[in-house]
Symmetry: C2
Subunit: 279 residues, 2 copies
Amino acid sequence: MTDSSGDKIADDTFMVRPDPTNPKLTERVSGVDQNGNPIETSVTVERPLTLFLNGREIVTMMTICDYPDYLAVGYLLNQNMIHPDDEVTGIDYDEEIETVVVRTATETDFEEKLKKKTLTSGCAQGTVFGDVMEKFETVKLNQEAVLKTSWLYALTKTINTTPSLYLEAGAIHGCVLCDADKPLLYMEDVGRHNAVDKVIGRAFMDGLVPLTDYVLVVSGRVSYEIVAKAISACVGAIVAVSGPTTLAVDTARRHDLLLVGFARDDRMNIYSGGQWVNS
Amino acid sequence: MTDSSGDKIADDTFMVRPDPTNPKLTERVSGVDQNGNPIETSVTVERPLTLFLNGREIVTMMTICDYPDYLAVGYLLNQNMIHPDDEVTGIDYDEEIETVVVRTATETDFEEKLKKKTLTSGCAQGTVFGDVMEKFETVKLNQEAVLKTSWLYALTKTINTTPSLYLEAGAIHGCVLCDADKPLLYMEDVGRHNAVDKVIGRAFMDGLVPLTDYVLVVSGRVSYEIVAKAISACVGAIVAVSGPTTLAVDTARRHDLLLVGFARDDRMNIYSGGQWVNS
């Protein structure tokens, strides 16, 4: 495999990678440029997807909708609405009515909780926040997580030269689950949180969660939400292209999660945790 | 006023501008760099803020929390939970318990709607989405909105050289409400949607909504959510530094909202609506 300059790049280790040629994920949109000349560009799609868990409507998400099944399962796991030991018996996506239904073998305890709390709180979002925080206290991360500088250089190069919707159309974020210097699952979406949910959903369905030996590389910034999702799935380390927020750093430190920011070319900042090896 | 190169820049027309020297908005965080040397950098704060409307808990937002009052009112307006003709009788922010309560003269009809719908739908997010779409059909935008290339150049220069949390710490998005080539309200937040909510909340409290004669400049991408908020406040035009999604373009076109993307230096793409003048 070669990149656009013809250089040979790392052997392809991707289990899932972006498919910028999928006609469902971009549209050609016409407009004019700064001189009034007609232009036509690729624009990333965005569609609503309403998620149901066992007949209960949970949320409407805006997504490119390439993997509604992984997104649904990842979201429910990361919101603590289903647990790693719940048996998922079916995932039905209906493209026409833009819904995805996740079914579990037994009713999850989340549904009973939600039923009670919405009567008093109006919206599940605040409730979920509290609930996810509760789960955190019991999460055990891999405090021996190791990250090598050389892996990071290799990963960044491979990810940046892999054909993607980002390179094709922009206006999108990416998330890549990596095993040492090997990128495995590379997903993109209009929201960074969706990309993370899809990666974790797929990893769960492949039996890889808890992800203690894996590194999650994310485009852009790291807010609390991304760290929370990573801790939920027991990820070994987070590497971000841009900077973190204070709450992201504090939460990572409380759980000794290895958190790297501003990872660009041969530079990076390590804010928290784990074992980092400069080799 | 001069920028960092000493050039004179536009007279300061800001009613609100970022305050990167506010010690509540950044923290000094220590870490190590790629060579293992200790570093200390400014990191943007992120805090939870739980919003109540007349005693009903609505949502918990993650924010830098510089303007909880504008954020609360802007969010409620943009979600169609309060209306421009509702009288806001009080906004109480409690820093210690991280809550903000918005009170209106009469109970808003939203609360009754929410009470009914949460029983069947579980979470208000899906509900709200439908509701906001309903409101759209009645929104009248300024189809004569005019945007001049020269304004855009002036705005971009002023905004980029104004001291900000972005320049200080990164990991943040900005939104600027402008009157022709004059930036008026420049807000930043860890989520772009919060920055937009704060700007619209403040504009509403100043009696400027509907914003038919104003331009909203946003950092980064334009997704459906941003266009929806802009249409809710009847903004004249949206200018984004990065690209739009298809749903953002489609929605802008349906309402003849002037939508400009990839506005960088002397380049831009015009995707939709309004009157654009190359002068």
